[in-house]
Symmetry: C2
Subunit: 401 residues, 2 copies
């Protein structure tokens, strides 16, 4: 007998038919002798509809009240799914985030799970109930309802799996698993049997929206056996785990990120502490800086160029302009039409061939590289946005053709 | 400084415009120096929509899961109302039934409030917050979400008023207050300034759907100053209290109940214990019996006729038929096309004139009376359903023309 945590997203429960299809997957798992905890998101567009209602009252509503509002979405889908499981002969009980003991911090709308009090979950499982827990939400130590932010149901599932020491946590999605590239864009994209947490984290950060980032960090921390698979059938998907087979492909995937912009601070005096000053300003304003390039400017000055997420651009520019005098720079230059294309795979650092094959593939398509960044398991290149899809295909062909 | 509990029903918060209108009534009360707890129902048809969703899954869903589902309706309206109050410059916080400490028994879908733990409500009020509490729902001692059944938000409001020792509990509705008859049907209907709990209870039971029955019982028990008034303006409505001015009208209202049927058990042997047996059977099956008439049948036997709510008819008939042998009766006779018309008013018993004026009014319209029942504050007559509206008008004209 294994303890399984199964997570279903909003599109998996968007209508009665899909709800029954999920119910039968869940009931089969239970009938095979497993203990089952289901974590479910809000149905289809429910969350968006609720947000729209709030906007009709206030364009900038209190985040506390937003969490009260949108957390109802999962309560609806969880109770309907429990009804469907009961209808087909199972014994299910829905539980809200607070009933399931999911305790978070007090950051409304993007709360972090501090822990899961497993007392009620364990006792309900002991009574042979299938549990349907609302994803995406929790409760603070002072009994306030919180939500985890978009995609937070993945995190709920992994946190519950960790608390219950579940044998497996299966994330059911619209896709069959994790591919070497976006299968809608790259027709040779290959479904991976397995991938490591770190590789998955890099892919997730890069916009391969299969799973929520924080959920993978949490799975890595507690070493949870994760699996991503399709919500339509019983095909095996992709296993995400700590150590994967040494043999086989080094490159695990190619992904792009178009939500990116570069900022250059021009003609900075070449003296210590200036770069520190710039990046401290970014950090104070909660702006993550990704690739950094320092180059020689005119008359012994330097230019510092770095990439940030597009939605941070306005803040970054206004902060830098306000502090330009103390930085000593001569102005800013902004590029928004850029994309980052990355190749992810463990052991890449010790395989010098990978980088040169990436550069070769791009050169073959006459794609210009603006910046380069490498890590243990990733090589990223910054290129013009118009070239992004072509670059992904070229690199993917290089490794998977 | 007074502590007010203000309750708004579903039609009062059915869209953004109405929500803002409620928000401004609430904020005005707060700005006048009062502490304010608002109790709110689900928006417009939300509850019906949720029930419809459940029916698409299971025609007879688990009541526990139904309560999980429908309780989301008030959470939505409460958070939106809190947003609206904040938007117009108030300081509001929404609270679910469990956050507000409303503890109920475990009868899902028609739970009874066992008490309100006022700790959080009092501390939030102490911090100068306007509180918006979800009506209609509570939590059991084992952390299960329950609902109080249709109209339960009135009961929530009164229970919270009792727990907080509120100075007043105001029920805002679609009508201006309590009338001497249904103003949509009787054009001379008069708005009452005040009415006693008992009179209101009788009118409520009789289908004058201004307030939920249990809420009035509770208000009477804790002697809560109740007021029913319109949700559109600031017109005074009807005060409901223990003792009302001795002067003035004896008759407070005329109401009808068409959800009624009569059952006759025919030719019962005239010996002790048979009537007891019949009404014990009804009680065991949770069927309330209203008017009872015992009359002579053939050959020294008796007929016993009584009225029950129409929706109990099937159960009553099947129980009686099953036990007919031990009752010793010769058969059943059912009438469904009946209505009960009642005149309500304190001190009626000591005013013999009232009954004869009622009978006179009906005779004047040639309306036949099937059964009569009187109490301290009520005279009810059972008549044919086709005559019901005519009877209400005739009696109302007699006392209020």
């Amino acid at each position: 007998m294994a303890l399984l945590v199964m997570k279903f997203g909003g599109s998996s429960v968007c209508d009665a038919e899909r709800i029954f299809s999920v119910a039968s997957i869940v009931k089969s798992a239970f009938d095979e002798g497993n203990q089952v905890v289901v974590v479910v998101s809000a149905m289809g567009d429910t969350t968006d509809d609720l947000i729209e209602m709030a906007m009709s009252i206030d364009k900038r509503p209190s985040k506390r009240e937003m969490d009260m509002l949108v957390s109802t979405g999962e309560q609806v889908s969880a109770s309907l799914l429990a009804m469907a499981i009961n209808k087909i002969g199972g014994r299910a009980k829905s539980l809200t985030g607070w009933q399931a003991g999911v305790v978070t911090d007090t950051t409304y709308s993007s709360a972090r799970i501090k822990g899961v009090n497993d007392r009620r979950l364990m006792s309900e499982l002991g009574e042979n109930n299938i549990l349907v827990v609302t994803g995406f939400q929790g409760i603070t130590r002072t009994d306030e309802i919180t939500t985890l932010g978009r995609g937070g149901s993945d995190t709920s599932a992994v946190a519950i799996a960790a608390a219950l020491r579940a044998d497996r946590c299966i994330i059911y999605t619209d896709v069959d698993g994790v591919y070497t590239a976006d299968p809608r864009k790259v027709k040779n994209a290959v479904l991976l049997d397995e991938i490591s947490y770190d590789e998955m984290l890099e892919l997730s950060t890069l916009g391969a929206q299969v799973m929520h980032n924080r959920s993978i960090e949490l799975a890595k921390k507690y070493n949870i056996d994760l699996e991503v698979r399709s919500n339509t059938g019983e095909k095996p998907g992709t296993k995400i785990m700590e150590v994967i087979s040494v043999e086989g492909m080094i490159v695990k995937g190619v992904a792009k990120d178009e939500n990116i912009a570069t900022v250059s601070v021009l003609s900075i005096p070449d003296k210590p502490g200036i770069a520190f000053k710039i990046f401290s300003l970014m950090a104070q304003n909660k702006i993550n800086v990704d690739i950094i390039l320092q180059s020689e400017g005119r008359n012994g000055t330097q230019d510092i160029t770095f990439t940030i997420a597009s939605n941070n651009l306005d803040t970054a520019v206004s902060v830098l302009e306000k502090n330009m005098a103390s930085i000593g720079g001569q102005g800013l230059k902004i590029y928004e039409d850029v994309a980052k294309v990355s190749v992810v795979g463990s052991g890449m650092q010790s395989n010098y061939g990978v980088a040169s094959r990436v550069f070769g593939a791009l050169a073959g398509k006459r794609i210009n590289i603006r910046m380069i960044s490498t890590s243990e398991i990733k090589i990223s290149v910054l290129i013009d946005k118009v070239d992004a899809d072509k670059a992904v295909s070229a690199i993917h062909d290089e490794f998977f053709r």
